[in-house]
């Protein structure tokens, strides 16, 4: 499975017809085809190209909805976080 750095992920922001990817719990999901992620934006408050693990804690839904979208990779941990 493809590994993404945070910088690579940021380019998948869904704008200008680019694909829209988001991360939850280290998994990269392709939300490009989701009606709820048109233009890389979700419910006026979340942007694609980012790790939304923390944001999902406050969302009115769980990760199960995100898991309906295809997983296309995993997010590499920053070097500082590796032990």
């Amino acid at each position: 499975m493809r590994r993404f750095t945070a910088e690579e992920l940021a380019s998948y922001d869904g704008r200008d017809r680019r694909p829209a990817y988001v991360v939850y719990d280290g998994k990269v999901y392709d939300v490009t085809g989701s009606f709820l992620w048109k233009g890389g934006r979700h419910q006026a408050m979340h942007d694609a190209g980012l790790d939304l693990t923390r944001a999902l804690l406050d969302a009115p839904h769980g990760p199960d909805l995100l898991a309906r979208c295809p997983q296309v990779g995993v997010l590499e941990e920053p070097e500082a976080d590796r032990t």
Partner: protein
Amino acid sequence: MAKVTREVVERAGVDVDQLLELLVKNASAELTTYYYYTILRVNLIGLQGEGIKEIAETARIEDRNHFEALVPRIYELGGKLPQDMKAFHDVSACPPAYLPKELGDTTELLKVLVEAERCAVRGYTQICNMTAGKDHRTYDLALAILNEEVEHESWFSEFLGEGPSGHYLRRGETSPFVSKFLK
């Protein structure tokens, strides 16, 4: 626009532009759902379909009421609705509630209905969370709509056999929670 209304909400710490975007998206979801439910309702036929037609009709009418109740609040806060109907449809907070491919399959139709209601429940929960203790009027409105959306979800969920819904038979007119905003 009600200038002081917007000002007090901003001063309470609400991002009013973000709130307005959410209100417009949910207003769109209500109006488009009203449209799609019109099509779903007439396709509820046969012994199974006719049994749920009445609640589908009530949900349809109440979703239209939700749209009409949301519009004044959007304008009060200084927002506006898109001029183009297609643009309005495309910003909806919920996906279109299309007819399932198998028209005679009432269970598939119920799944479309319950998914639409669950999306609405999430949307108004989000608005309530944003406005609780900060924007009393929007909170009151979103909570009223949420109460009706929860009932809609319960009705359809019960028909899918997901478990007892806990609700009682509706009495009286439609929109028992939202009607105060329509007077």
